[in-house]
Symmetry: C2
C-alpha cells in the first residue's frame, strides 16, 4: 500500500529554462514545503541570468486542456505567476474558477529581474478587474504594486495602494521591498509588509549582496504550499519569507548575472 | 562569496503537468543526484495519471533560442526525453551539436505509460540515423528497443537489437525490462541489462506491484547527473537504477491510474 500524495498545489506560471525561476522553481519550493506541484506553463521564455529575451505564451486552449486533464486531482492551493497577455489572463481566470474555495496566491510578474517589461497598462487593468477578485493573497514587489495602482498619486504610500487593490476583493497583500527599499529606511535591512483589511504586519531581513533570479517565485510558491497544508496566513507568510531568505543566502553565483536560489539548502540527499 | 553552481545537466524533454514525468521529474532527479538542471521543453502535453491526451511540440525556433540563451552555462551532461516529431528531432540534433564532448543520455519515449503512441516508424528511423550517433547511452525499455530496431527479426533477441543500435554510433544501451519481462524469467524480478560493444552487465530488482508514471525519466536523468559529476558509466548506471527503484518503492498512489515516484524520499527538508 502506497502513501497518499502530499497536499497538491496547482501552479499556473511561466517556464524558465535556467531553473532559477518559473515552474521548476515553484515545484522545488513546493516540494521543500511538503507539497506536490502540478504545473501548467502559461508561457515558455527565452532567458538567462541577465534578462528575458522572449516570452512565448501558451495558447488558452492548451492551458485549459491541461487544467481539465488534472480534474481528478485534490488541489489544495493555487499559485499564479507570469501571465503574459490578456488571452492568457482569461484562460487563467477560467482555470481558477474551476476550484472554488481553494486559496489562491498570485505573484504579479510585471518586470523580469533583468529589466524587461513583461506587462502593459491594459494587462494590469485586466489583472485588477478579472483576477484580483479571485486572489486570496498577492505578493508584489514595490514596483509591481505601483504598476498595479496607477490611480494612487502619492509615490510611496504603499498602504493606500494596498487598500486600493484590496477593494477589488483580494484579501491580503504581501509587499516585498527588496527591489526598492522605502526612502529613509535602513538600506541594510529589507522590510516586507503584509497588508490586511484592518491591520499590517512587518518583517525585516538582512539585505544580501547579490541580485537574485527567482526570489519572487520561491516566496509565492512556498506560501501557497504552506496554505495547502493548512498553515494560517500569518504564519505561512513568515515561514515562506524565512525559507526564501535561507534559499537566497545559500544561493549559487556563476560570476556574472543574477545569483540562483538553493531551495534544497538543508535537504540531505541519497548520494551526498 | 557564493558557492559555484553544481554540475549542470541540460535537459531537452517534454513537460508533464502531473510532475510525475517530464522536465519537472528530470529536475528533481538531477537535484537529488547533486546536479543543477537547465530545461528546454521540447513539447507541452495534456495528460494525467491515466494517459497522454495531447502532445503540443515546441517550435524548433523556440527550442534553439532557449538553448542559445543558455550559451554561457557550463553544461556537463545532456539528457534527451520526448521528441514528438521530426522538426523537433532536427532542432534537438542541432542543440546537441553545440556541446561537443558532453556526455548525452537519451531516453527514447515512444509510448506513454497509459498506452498512447508518441512516435511513428519514420520518426524512429530519423532517431536512429540523426540522433543515435550523438548519444553516449540510450535507455529504452524493451518495447522501445523493439520499435527502434524493426529490421531485427528475432522477437526476444535484445542483444541483436542492441548491437544493431550500437552500429549507429551509440556507445551503450541500458535496456529496462519492467514493461515486458523476457519470457521464462522470474516474473517477480526485473532484469535491466547494460549492453556495451564487448560486454553486457545485468542487475535484478524486485518487481513493485504498481505501474509508475515517470520511472524512465527518473532513471535517465539520474544517470545524466551522475555522468555530469564525473561518475563512471557502470557505477552511474547502477546508482541511477538504485535511486529509481527507491523513488518508486517510496512512491505515492492516489487510488487510480499510475503511481508517482517520490524522488526526495530520503531528503530532510527545512519544515518537516
Amino acid at each position: 500500500m502506497r502513501k497518499p500524495l502530499p497536499p497538491v498545489v496547482l501552479v499556473l506560471a511561466g517556464h524558465d529554462p535556467t531553473g532559477g525561476a518559473g515552474i521548476i522553481a515553484d515545484s522545488e519550493a513546493i516540494a521543500a514545503a511538503g507539497g506536490w506541484a502540478v504545473t501548467v506553463p502559461t508561457a515558455l521564455t527565452v532567458q538567462n541570468l541577465h534578462d528575458v529575451q522572449r516570452v512565448i505564451p501558451t495558447s488558452p486552449d492548451s492551458i485549459l486542456a491541461m487544467v481539465d486533464a488534472l480534474g481528478e486531482w485534490p488541489v489544495a492551493a493555487i499559485k499564479l505567476g507570469l501571465i503574459a497577455d490578456e488571452a492568457t489572463l482569461f484562460a487563467v481566470e477560467k482555470a481558477v474558477r474551476r476550484f472554488p474555495g481553494v486559496p489562491v496566491v498570485a505573484d504579479p510578474v510585471i518586470k523580469a529581474g533583468g529589466g524587461t517589461e513583461l506587462s502593459t497598462p491594459a494587462l494590469c487593468r485586466a489583472y485588477r478587474q478579472r483576477l484580483l477578485p479571485l486572489v486570496d493573497i498577492l505578493t508584489p514587489n514595490r514596483y509591481e504594486l505601483t504598476q498595479l495602482t496607477p490611480d494612487v498619486q502619492k509615490p510611496d504610500d504603499d498602504t493606500a495602494r494596498a487598500v486600493a487593490l484590496m477593494s477589488h476583493g483580494c484579501q491580503a497583500i504581501l509587499v516585498t521591498a527588496t527591489d526598492n527599499p522605502r526612502p529613509g529606511c535602513d538600506q541594510q535591512q529589507i522590510t516586507h509588509t503584509l497588508h490586511m483589511p484592518d491591520t499590517t504586519r512587518q518583517w525585516q531581513w538582512p539585505r544580501l549582496p547579490e541580485q537574485f533570479h527567482g526570489s519572487g517565485c520561491t516566496l509565492a510558491s512556498s506560501l501557497a504550499a504552506r496554505l495547502a497544508v493548512g498553515e494560517r496566513l500569518l504564519s505561512a507568510c513568515e515561514q515562506a519569507q524565512h525559507f526564501t531568505w535561507e534559499s537566497l543566502s545559500h544561493g549559487y553565483y556563476q560570476g556574472s548575472g543574477q545569483a540562483l536560489p538553493h531551495r534544497f539548502f538543508d535537504a540531505h540527499f541519497f548520494t551526498r
